[in-house]
């Protein structure tokens, strides 16, 4: 079974999958019948939700679940770091999405996401190892 943190990563990734698909469907329909040209403005958010929110976040959650573990009791390493990464990543994605209304926040969102990935890599670094070591 998955650790709680992976459940949060993976379920959040599924929510972003649906949100990204919704925006993509709205844009594709606009290409077809031009019902609301303004909808094409959501393209960057569509890409953000599906590349970072869905694919990157899913990979992070699954890696935390299946990478080789340490001995008990801290079998998956410093979970606090990875929780912080999860929070930062999702905050970053949502802040990047706000660029639709406040373009200046885009950079803040990207900084949060970058921080999330650095913290995640630091937290998982030593679990990239042979099994049983």
């Amino acid at each position: 079974m998955m650790p709680r943190l992976s459940v949060w990563f993976v379920r959040a990734s599924m929510i972003y999958l649906l949100a990204g698909f919704t925006l993509g469907a709205l844009m594709l329909a606009q290409d077809g019948i031009s019902y609301a040209p303004a909808v094409m403005a959501v393209l960057p958010v569509h890409m953000e939700f599906l590349l970072v929110g869905w694919l990157v976040q899913l990979a992070m959650g699954v890696a935390f679940w299946i990478f080789p573990r340490f001995g008990l009791p801290h079998s998956r390493g410093n979970e606090t770091l990875i929780w912080a990464s999860c929070l930062l990543l999702n905050a970053g994605i949502l802040v990047v999405a706000l660029e639709l209304w406040i373009p200046a926040v885009f950079l803040i969102g990207r900084i949060l996401e970058t921080g999330a990935v650095i913290i995640y890599a630091a937290g998982l670094w030593r679990r990239v190892k042979p099994h049983g070591t």
């Binding site: 079974m1 379920r11 649906l18 698909f21 594709l28 329909a29 290409d31």
Partner: protein, 138 residues
């Protein structure tokens, strides 16, 4: 490996090849000025990211995520097949209609894109419906 996973993964390889062929056509368009190949870039991207990558992920998730129950280890196989069908029908319609709509806009191609959009969204929805309860601690 369960049967739906094999279909997801093998089909994803087909889309990977198609995406790379579309990439070659895009390169040829740039080199030789082939205006008839308009509308191909979004198709190339979606063949790659949706047809290959997302389809590969869907197949592996269906196979490897925690079991739903002893009787139904992978949730609903029917929903799994619906996801497969919706993803591939939706993407194929898009791959055909989007370049047509770009070069020769017409109501048939336009409404095909609307139908494709709805079908692709439903593929994501059925995937999430079938996978959500397999993502759990206990």
């Amino acid at each position: 490996m369960p049967t739906p996973t094999r279909w997801f993964i093998k089909t994803s390889f087909v889309y990977l090849a198609l995406a790379l062929i579309a990439g070659l056509l895009l390169a040829a368009r740039s080199l030789f000025g082939l205006t008839a190949l308009g509308g191909l870039f979004p198709v190339y991207i979606h063949l790659l990211v949706f047809g290959w990558l997302t389809q590969l992920v869907f197949g592996v998730v269906y196979w490897m995520f925690p079991k739903y129950s002893a009787e139904k280890p992978r949730g609903s196989e029917t929903l799994g097949w619906w996801t497969y069908a919706l993803l591939n029908v939706g993407l194929a319609l898009r791959a055909i209609a989007e370049p047509v709509q770009s070069v020769h806009p017409n109501p048939f191609a336009g409404w095909t894109l609307v139908v494709s959009a709805a079908i692709q969204f439903c593929a994501g929805l059925t995937f999430v419906l079938n996978s959500w309860n397999r993502v759990r601690e206990k």
